[in-house]
C-alpha cells in the first residue's frame, strides 16, 4: 500500500478525532458553560450514565426508520415502475406527486396522530411518506431515459413493451434505484425522528425532548451523537449495497454527470 492511499484511508478518522479535540479544547479555552455547549468528554460521560435509555430508544428509532424505509422501497419501486411504464400515468400522477412532495412532512404528523395515536405508527408512516419520493423519481427516470435508438432497435425486432422493460428498462433503472436508497434512508431517519419528537414517548427524538425538559444538556448532545452514528451506519449500508449491486454502472461511467 502506498503512503497516499494509507493517508486517504486514515483521513476520515483523523478528521473526526480532530473535530472532537478542537471542540473539547474550545469549550475549555473559552470557558463555555456546560449547559450551553458541553464538551465531548461530558457527552461521553452521559453515554455511560444513560446507556440503557440511549440504547433502548436508539433501537426504537432504528426500528421505526427501517420499517418506514422498507415500506418506501416497496411502494416507491412499484409506483416508479408504473410511472415509468406509461406516459399517461406519468402525466396524471406527476403534478400530484409534486404537490405531495411540496408538503413539509412535519405538517402531516398531527393528522397521523389523529388517526393512529402517538407512538410507533406515526413515526413509521412519517418515515415512509418522506422517503418514497426520491425512489419513485429515480426508478421512473431510469425507465424513461432509455435511448430512443435502442428502443427502435428492439421494436424493429418485434419487441413488446414488456420485453423492452425486462431487457433494458429495469436493468438500467437499477443503478438509479440503488442510488436513491442513500437519500431515502437519510430522509426516513429525519421523518421518524421528527415524528418521535412531536408525538411519541419513546425514541431518540423523545429522549432528547425529555432531556431538554430536565436540562440534561450533555444527554441532549448524546442523543444527537447517537443519531449521527445511526445515520452514518445506515447510509454506509446503502452505499455498500449500491456498490455491490450495480458495480457495472460505476465501472462503465453510466449515468454520471
Amino acid at each position: 500500500m502506498t503512503a497516499t492511499s494509507l493517508s486517504v484511508r486514515l483521513a476520515p478518522w483523523l478528521f473526526t478525532v480532530a473535530l472532537f479535540a478542537a471542540w473539547e479544547a474550545a469549550v475549555h479555552l473559552f470557558r463555555i458553560p456546560q449547559f450551553f455547549l458541553p464538551p465531548p468528554t461530558a457527552i461521553a460521560q452521559a453515554f455511560v450514565d444513560y446507556w440503557p435509555a440511549i440504547y433502548r430508544n436508539s433501537l426504537f428509532t432504528l426500528g421505526t426508520t427501517a420499517l418506514g424505509f422498507a415500506l418506501a422501497v416497496g411502494f416507491g419501486l412499484a409506483l416508479g415502475l408504473v410511472i415509468g411504464w406509461s406516459r399517461t400515468i406519468y402525466a396524471g400522477l406527476y403534478p400530484l406527486m409534486i404537490g405531495f412532495n411540496a408538503i413539509p412532512k412535519v405538517a402531516v404528523v398531527p393528522i397521523l396522530v389523529l388517526w393512529f395515536g402517538i407512538g410507533a405508527v406515526p413515526a413509521v408512516l412519517t418515515a415512509f411518506l418522506i422517503s418514497f419520493f426520491p425512489i419513485v423519481v429515480n426508478v421512473a427516470t431510469g425507465l424513461a431515459t432509455i435511448e430512443p435508438e435502442l428502443e427502435d432497435v428492439l421494436k424493429a425486432l418485434g419487441a413488446s413493451k414488456l420485453d423492452i422493460m425486462r431487457k433494458v428498462g429495469i436493468p438500467r433503472a437499477l443503478p438509479y434505484f440503488f442510488g436513491s436508497l442513500k437519500v431515502a434512508i437519510t430522509l426516513a431517519f429525519v421523518g421518524s425522528v421528527i415524528s418521535e419528537t412531536i408525538a411519541s414517548n419513546v425514541g431518540i427524538g423523545n429522549l432528547m425532548l425529555q432531556a431538554q425538559a430536565q436540562f440534561l444538556v450533555p444527554l441532549i448532545f448524546a442523543g444527537l451523537i447517537a443519531l449521527a452514528v445511526e445515520g452514518i451506519v445506515m447510509y454506509w449500508l446503502m452505499a455498500v449495497l449500491e456498490a455491490r449491486m450495480t458495480g457495472w454502472a460505476h465501472r462503465s461511467g453510466f449515468a454520471q454527470g
Binding site: 435511448e147 424493429a156 419487441a159 453510466f254
Partner: protein, 263 residues
C-alpha cells in the same frame, strides 16, 4: 398505381410527427430498393433520412402513401430488419457477447430456442464477432472497447438474427477517418457474402459512393427524392478505387446536387 414489388418500397409517402397538418418531415417520398441491393441515402441535415428509416421499418406510419417491405404493406414493426445507429447503444451491464444475443431473446423462432441451443448461438455470435475483427472480445464489456470496436459490435447485433434487411443510420459518423474506412470494408464484405439488402443513411458522399449500388439524394425538409444515381464502379471495390478520377467525378456530381438541395 403504387408499385410494391421492390423489396423495400415507399410510394408517395408523407409523414408528420405531430400528425397530418403539422410540419411535414417527408412529403411525397418515393424510393424503391431491390432485394440484395445496397442503397445509400444522402441529403441535407433534417431532411427526413432517419424518418425514412423509421417508416421503412414500421416504427412510424405515414398519413399518406404506402410503405411495403418484402411485398407486404407495413402496418407494424417489420421483424426482418437489423438496425444500427451513430451511437452503438450497447447495454453496459452485458458483455459484448451477451449484447449480441439480445436480439435472439426477442425474435422468434430464436427466442424459444435460445435456452436449449445456447451453445450453437454462442458459436454463431463468436463467428460473427470474428468476421468483423472482434474475435476473442466477446467476454469484454462494451465500455472496455474503443468506439470503433463498439460500433463493430453494434453491427454484429444488427446482423445476429440474419435479417434480410440492414438499416444503417450514419453508423460511422462518430469514428475517425481510418476506422471508418476499415468499417466500410467490413460492411462491404458482409453485404457481398450474405447478399443482404442494405439501406445506409450517411453524410459522407465518399462512403455512399464506395459502398452503394445506388445513391438517392434527398431534398431539404420536407424530404423527397430529388435524384438517384447508379454507381457503376465494378465490385469487389477496393479502397484504392476511391482515389480514381471516375470516383471523384461521381462524388463531385453528388455534392453539387446536395448544395443545390440545401438552397
Amino acid at each position: 398505381m403504387a408499385d410494391l414489388t421492390a423489396f423495400v418500397a415507399l410510394e408517395g409517402v408523407s409523414h408528420a410527427y405531430g400528425g397530418a397538418g403539422s410540419t411535414l418531415a417527408v412529403d411525397g417520398l418515393t424510393i424503391r430498393v431491390n432485394r440484395g441491393e445496397f442503397a445509400a441515402v444522402v441529403g441535407p441535415s433534417g431532411c427526413g433520412k432517419s424518418t425514412l428509416m423509421k417508416l421503412a421499418t414500421g416504427l412510424q406510419f405515414p398519413f399518406a402513401g404506402t410503405v411495403a417491405v418484402a411485398g407486404e404493406v407495413v402496418r407494424k414493426p417489420v421483424k426482418i430488419a437489423g438496425m444500427a445507429f451513430q451511437a452503438p447503444t450497447l447495454l453496459p451491464w452485458r458483455t459484448t457477447l451477451e449484447n449480441l444475443l439480445l436480439p435472439l431473446e426477442i425474435v422468434e423462432p430464436h427466442r424459444g430456442r435460445l435456452r436449449r441451443h445456447k451453445a450453437d448461438y454462442v458459436a454463431r455470435a463468436e463467428a460473427l464477432l470474428a468476421s468483423v475483427g472482434l474475435g476473442g472480445f466477446g467476454g469484454q464489456y462494451p465500455w472496455q472497447l474503443s468506439g470503433g470496436m463498439q460500433q463493430r459490435a453494434s453491427l454484429c447485433r444488427a446482423l445476429i438474427h440474419e435479417p434480410a434487411l440492414l438499416m444503417l443510420d450514419e453508423p460511422f459518423a462518430a469514428l475517425d477517418a481510418f476506422t471508418r474506412e476499415e468499417l466500410w470494408c467490413v460492411i462491404r464484405d458482409l453485404h457481398a457474402v450474405r447478399g443482404i439488402t442494405v439501406i445506409l443513411v450517411t453524410h459522407d458522399l465518399r462512403e455512399a459512393v464506395f459502398l452503394a449500388d445506388r445513391v438517392f439524394v434527398m431534398s431539404a425538409r420536407p424530404g423527397r427524392v430529388l435524384s438517384e444515381r447508379v454507381i457503376d464502379l465494378p465490385r469487389p471495390r477496393d479502397l484504392e478505387a476511391t482515389f480514381t478520377p471516375h470516383f471523384q467525378e461521381i462524388v463531385h456530381a453528388l455534392r453539387d446536387q446536395i448544395v443545390r438541395a440545401r438552397q
